[in-house]
Amino acid sequence: MTPVSAAKWAGLAAILVVPALLGSGNYAYLVQAGGMIGLYMILALGLNFTMGYVGLFDLGYIAFFAAGAYGAAICGAYNVPLLIELPLTVAFAVLLRLGLGVSILRLRGDYLAIVTMGFGEITRLVINNLDSITNGPKGMEVPPLQLFSWTLSGNLGYYYLIAACVALGVIGSRRLEDSRVGRAWVAIREDETAARLSGISVNEHKLLAFTISAGFAAVAGMIFAHWIQFVTPESFVFWESILIVSMIVLGGMGSIYGVLLGALILGGVPQILQVFLAGSKWIDYRYFFFGVVLVVVVLFRPEGLWPHKRRQAELHEEAA
């Protein structure tokens, strides 16, 4: 076994075993932190389709996380079983995204960023004011995840569920990026006009990536709601959208492992700092550190911490 693959297996084992060992000891908060980081990973992997592959800036992505969370909450309120809740919630988020995409994907660059930002805020305001359905700013209680008679509770259980979803997300992303559609996405990011004139239906492919992103966000939102068992509009502020965008920029646009690393750093560090700096006056500065890190990375490593490497093909002269 090479050192690299040994390190990989050791890392994987640590991710799976360590949380179970932490139990209810002093470091139990790490399991919860790990779960939250995992949720950010799912979100970042999802947004990576829109932003990383196709290169569309989306500053309102958290709206679809909210759609997932409130989908779970509302389904919970009506005792909808999980097997119906899941497709229902994902379909809702995807259709919402599709509607948004159809109307705005003709916009480019800054304009798209501004419109999506507006959409994110509108979504939060709607949730905040739609008292009859969402219970407004008071929030909604959500039952834990239940499949038939089996109930998932406790941080550890959700941690593993989230880890499994991250793994699925990584596999799905890898398989799609190395495909005809995945190449078309990257081609659009690289040069939209050239992509169109190479025979790609640009609008359809943008829309496809855009909606896939919503699917990831909806699943993350559902898990979040069932885990925390409470949702309020406060969880879906503009800052969260920015944070996910930053994860992708920090890690490397279009790079699966870069995006995971970005989520680990930007999702994890504030939580760790919160614990270590608790009570000290530095706690108010934790986002300041983070701003500094981001600026440094963008200045000195604009392609991200772990940029994507293009696939290398075997080339030999007698190729058919």
Partner: protein
């Protein structure tokens, strides 16, 4: 790779009274053009004559204001670009437009997009259809890289290739869409005489595959050497058309534009 059938003489493209107006500016004004299968035709004219606009209308970048473009007897004016490409017209750009951060091979593989079909499911589940199609895409792309002489650079990022190679990679990507007509917008721009020579030879080989070639070209030596016919545009109007030598003797052409000496 499949080549378009039929010999010389079959009408491939008929452009009738094609116009593109931008407000009061008539960038293209009532242009007619016929192309037969297997021809190499050059479009020349002074800067701003409407050459690139003409190519842009032909490939759906601009919708065109009036007139008709019949390709294989089918009206294609106003179709979205990817639909035009699917019908068998491919093009390259005056300013090279590659997918810079993709490898040379991937650039050509993207060109196979409109001739392949895999959606999301086959790659997600790694169905046999996925492997089968990917293998065919890759084989065709390698074949074309070999055709333009870039196979050994297949794994290089497009942006790292030398200028002349980028031009040829763009041609390979265009050929990957299986065109019946390829439109080359100033393919020799910025090339030295030796590179020019290789490109002229490449254009001939493209024609020998059965692909009709329409090109914008400034270097008169290239134009004279390979064109079956030459079309001269000036201020959006076709002012002359004919064999290369005839055209250069046409007084209207001489008046509008003497052509740049090839170095």
């Amino acid at each position: 790779m499949k080549t378009a059938g039929g010999g010389k003489g079959a009408p491939l493209l008929e452009v009738r009274q094609l116009s593109q107006h931008f407000g009061g500016l008539k960038a293209l004004d009532g242009v007619d053009l016929d192309l037969s299968q297997g021809e190499i035709v050059s479009v020349i004219g002074p800067n701003g004559a409407g050459k690139t606009t003409f190519f842009n209308v032909m490939t759906g970048v601009y919708p065109g204001t009036e007139g008709a473009i019949l390709f294989n007897g089918e009206a294609v004016r106003g179709l979205p670009s990817h639909e035009v490409i699917r019908r068998g017209i491919a093009r390259t750009f005056q300013n090279i437009r590659l997918f810079s951060n993709m490898t040379a091979l991937e650039n050509v593989m993207v060109g196979r997009h409109c001739r392949t079909r895999n959606g999301l499911l086959a790659p997600l589940l790694r169905l046999p259809a996925y492997y089968e199609e990917e293998r065919r895409i890759e084989a065709a792309a390698k074949d074309l890289l070999g055709f333009v002489g870039l196979l050994s650079f297949g794994n290089h990022l497009a942006k790292n290739l030398p200028y002349g190679d980028q031009r040829r990679l763009e041609i390979a990507r265009a050929l990957a869409t299986e065109p019946k007509l390829i439109i080359l917008d100033e393919p020799t721009a910025g090339m030295n005489p030796a590179e020019c020579e290789r490109l002229v030879e490449l254009i001939r080989r493209i024609r020998d595959r059965g692909v009709t070639v329409l090109l914008i070209e400034h270097q008169m030596r290239v134009v004279m050497g390979i064109s079956d016919r030459v079309v001269v545009l000036d201020y959006g109007v076709k002012i002359a058309e004919g064999k290369p030598l005839e055209v250069t003797k046409n007084p209207r052409v001489i008046e509008a534009y003497l052509g740049k000496e090839c170095d």
